[in-house]
């Protein structure tokens, strides 16, 4: 096969690639051009074309390098690129492998800052509605900053001077360099695991590169997601970072952040004094007010003339007592009368009376009876005497004296001849005896 004059595509391409790679002019090339067809892959690699008026150069920037680009590459930007030109064998293309990219004209940082600011503003991260309120008297304060240096000292000294009651916990954080973003984000998230009332995130002054971590999206998002209200304090008065925009409160300096985080002891002591004065005054007012009211009451009619208060009651009691007495007496009288009546009635119904009456009646009756009896006896004796006299006068004996007899038929007095038949026996009574006779003859007249 060594005599075969034909090369494989692979071999030829490899040769070309070697040529490129061996050329020092294609190593560490500085090239300026306009970006177009920018595609940022999910892996973080950036594919783009660098062009000018008359030429185009395909380019790629791998994610490790792309991370160092401060701004977001966009088509139309003029950029300064440093990299190597080499061949990509698989597609038979030469490509610019960019190691760094900077914006031409305006600074990278400025561009990146403006881009992120615009993006986060559009998302609403800076809106006032998201700003969390700060407690007036924080008990625990998280300080996310470098563990040494002016910033942490300024913060601690100011907090101590103003409000020594709060507990301060420092989260040692890298605030510049490649690891800063990750370190700041981690500290913010770690502090959010505890119950802090306030968090101060920041650092002292420095160059824009020194402060740059506070313009990174990850830091902005960590601040935005913090449950704990955040005071940002990055650099000096004039430095403004994305962290400042997204924080709940922005302080010009670390010292200012500490002043915003806590109330002032001196002011509080003053306020306490004014509270005491106010409370004393208000309590006094209450007492005075009540005293006045009491005086008004004690000098009022019922207190001045208390008898007026109970006089009507006394009158009522007296009237009531009077009528009660009257009532009682009347009642007594009525009862007594009733009692007398009843006694009378009782007495009148008493058997003694009827006994008396009866005995009177009896006597009376007896008298009458006696009278009547004796009268009647008298009458009878008179009647008897007169009857006896009459009888005597009428006595047949007397008649018989004169010679008359009485003829009996048996015991029957014979008054007519018709009663007697001839031959019947008769008894003839006479004054001094009787005679038995037989009728021999009857003669009627």
């Amino acid at each position: 096969m060594a005599t075969d004059p034909y090369l494989s595509v692979k071999a030829l391409t490899k040769y070309i690639k070697k040529k490129f790679d061996a050329d020092p002019h294609l190593r560490d090339v500085y090239v300026k051009g306009e970006l177009s067809n920018v595609k940022i892959h999910t892996s973080g690699h950036i594919y783009f074309t660098l062009k000018d008026n008359s030429a185009r150069l395909p380019a790629v920037m791998f994610s490790a390098n792309a991370r160092t680009v401060k701004f977001k590459p966009e088509s139309g930007m003029t950029v300064l690129i440093r990299g190597d030109v080499t061949v990509y064998e698989a597609s038979g293309q030469y490509q610019l492998y960019a190691q760094s990219m900077q914006a031409d004209g305006i600074g990278d940082y400025y561009l990146a800052f403006e881009q992120l600011k615009e993006k986060l503003a559009a998302e609403g991260l800076f809106n006032a509605v998201h700003k969390k309120p700060f407690p007036r008297f924080p008990r625990k304060i998280a300080v996310v900053t470098a563990p040494t240096g002016a910033a942490v000292r300024d913060i601690c000294i100011t907090l101590h001077r103003r409000y020594p009651l709060a507990k301060i916990v420092i989260y040692p954080t890298l605030v510049q360099g490649a690891q800063a973003v990750q370190s700041i984000v981690q500290s913010i998230q770690a502090a959010n695991k505890s119950d802090y009332d306030v968090m101060i995130v920041g650092r002292g002054g420095g160059s824009i590169e020194d402060l740059w971590a506070f313009n990174e999206e990850a830091v902005a998002r960590a601040i935005f997601q913090s449950r704990i209200p955040v005071i940002s304090a990055v650099g000096h008065e004039t430095d403004t970072t994305i962290a400042d925009f997204v924080a709940d409160l922005r302080a010009a300096t670390p010292t200012a952040a500490a002043e915003l985080a806590v109330p002032s002891k001196a002011e509080l002591l003053e306020r306490l004094l004014s509270y005491q004065t106010a409370m004393y005054r208000m309590a006094s007012n209450t007492i005075t007010k009540d005293k006045t009211a009491l005086n008004r009451v004690t000098s009022s009619m019922p207190f001045a003339y208390p008898d007026r208060l109970y006089r009507p009651f006394i009158e009522r009691v007296e009237r009531a007592t009077d009528s009660l007495q009257r009532e009682v007496i009347q009642n007594y009288r009525r009862s007594r009368e009733r009692h007398a009546n009843i006694e009378k009635q009782l007495a009148s119904r008493s058997p003694i009376n009827s006994i008396k009456q009866s005995s009177v009646d009896l006597e009376h009756l007896q008298k009458r009876l006696d009278g009547l009896i004796s009268q009647s006896l008298k009458n009878r004796s008179q009647q008897l005497s007169s009857a006896m006299r009459t009888l005597d006068a009428l006595s047949p004996l007397k008649i018989m004296d004169r010679g008359y007899t009485i003829a009996y038929k048996g015991s029957q007095v014979v008054k007519s001849v018709a009663q007697i038949e001839e031959g019947e026996k008769l008894t003839i009574a006479m004054k001094d005896g009787s005679l038995s006779a037989t009728v021999t003859e009857r003669n009627a007249f």
Binding site: I170, P172, L272, T286
Partner: protein, 78 residues
């Protein structure tokens, strides 16, 4: 102060509530005096806490643990 120690912010908030109540001026005398007394106690508590605050507790997180720090010098953990 008898039961468990009251926090400064609680004492301050209670005190301000008492001042608010007293300001309304329609509190009965006994209650006003009780409030006044309580307010003065709270005020004293706040005052004492502020005045006698011992050295501020400053710690630093080291491997998830809090370590004491002396801030008077340079804020370096000891």
């Amino acid at each position: 102060m008898a039961e468990k120690e009251i926090m400064f912010n609680q004492a301050m908030e209670q005190l301000e509530e008492i001042v608010r109540q007293l300001e309304q001026g329609d509190v009965p005398l006994e209650e006003a005096l009780t409030l006044y007394q309580k307010g003065m106690e709270l005020s004293k508590v706040c005052h004492d806490k502020l005045q006698n605050a011992e050295k501020q507790l400053v710690t630093m997180m080291k491997d998830g643990k809090e370590v004491s720090v002396d801030i008077e010098t340079d804020g370096t953990a000891k």
